[in-house]
Symmetry: C3
Subunit: 177 residues, 3 copies
Amino acid sequence: MDTITIGVVTTSDRAYAGIYDDISGKAIMEVMGEYLQNECVYEYRCIPDEQPLIETTLIELSRDKKCDLIVTTGGTGPAPRDVTTEATLNVCQKILPGFGEQMRAASLQHVPTAILSRQTAGICNGSLIINLPGKPKAIRECLDAVFPAVPYCIDLIGGSYMETDETVIKAFRPKGK
Amino acid sequence: MDTITIGVVTTSDRAYAGIYDDISGKAIMEVMGEYLQNECVYEYRCIPDEQPLIETTLIELSRDKKCDLIVTTGGTGPAPRDVTTEATLNVCQKILPGFGEQMRAASLQHVPTAILSRQTAGICNGSLIINLPGKPKAIRECLDAVFPAVPYCIDLIGGSYMETDETVIKAFRPKGK
Amino acid sequence: MDTITIGVVTTSDRAYAGIYDDISGKAIMEVMGEYLQNECVYEYRCIPDEQPLIETTLIELSRDKKCDLIVTTGGTGPAPRDVTTEATLNVCQKILPGFGEQMRAASLQHVPTAILSRQTAGICNGSLIINLPGKPKAIRECLDAVFPAVPYCIDLIGGSYMETDETVIKAFRPKGK
């Protein structure tokens, strides 16, 4: 079974400054551990909400660390310091708007402020980047909504072969592919 | 209670030329009056469908008039003179695609041509700009669909504190914020 | 009744090389023949997944052949050779995000990987361009989801007057327009 390299990028001025613990980054690794049967290597970064730094981090994790998947948390709202979406749009060669649509639709089941999220996804140097919200509870909701499509996406961009624990989440791969 | 400054921008060659009355701009102010318990000051503009003029109007209302919210009506369809969306995309520092998705989903309950609308929303100089359709009936439908998220959005960008009449529409603010 | 000019653009390295038959392009023409009562003239192109070539083809079909509608098939996924979306975004003067949203929502009823599709639509030199997926089965699903809005869209951009077979699909035109 392939080893999967997963980048986890928490963008948060306060977590970076140690004002609070980065629960969100940990939540992502926990969910991945439940979803995937593969061994996972995590490249974890906790950085402030600075767009150039977010961009260089995404480029490093995709080009140098060759992550199959990069998941960000935080920085997708409308506040001035929320710039993770802009960084993602800037570094990706391809944008996948369906991820943002689907994650907002999932969050809308819980809160009407889901429409304020600017989460997106895209392909950067052969890695799939997905923006998640900053709140740990919303992280699981959003991942559950889009993860069934993630393994096939990573197949299409030439990444490692993910195998999910089907009692937790079921990956979908079209037949004859 | 804070006073709310609301920009209302009707973009319509025909309303500007006086060929017909601007019912849409009036409809927006009427809905705002029903939604909000705050005192509202309106900055109303009725202008032709000229992209540079729409852009300078949006900049004036955000930067100089310091509107909390700017609502446009008209110019979001596929016709050559429909350029309000382009003007909005050009002046905003941040785009909020969830508003357009949600307004189109609401309009789709009524007409299949809702997919032709290019309505969006974004943040321009600290103001939230929302594009609404040109037809008075669709204005209410679209505002009902997104307004519950508007007061919290304006909190996040440093604007005035909106208080809604909860018998008409209920604003949502996440707890602990 | 107006004659409708329809561009059908299959972007596929393998179909272009003759490795397999272009079933998708044929499927589009078949569906159009069922939908429309007008006489249709097809401008059919089967080309490789090269972005500059796709762009010049879209420009030729819109500007020179004056197509009312241009339908592409293929090249909307996340793989490196999928560049039809980028070509469409580049040549269009206006983007209509509601088409992509609606087509992904329709495909999501069938497969969770629908969120990987980057299909969009837009206006290029007075033609409506719609991206469809590459698989014949998904073509019908996507067209059924958006076509009711197509004739009115083409009215708005000054194209020919489409008349549909209402036992197959019902076009919607707002009253009083």
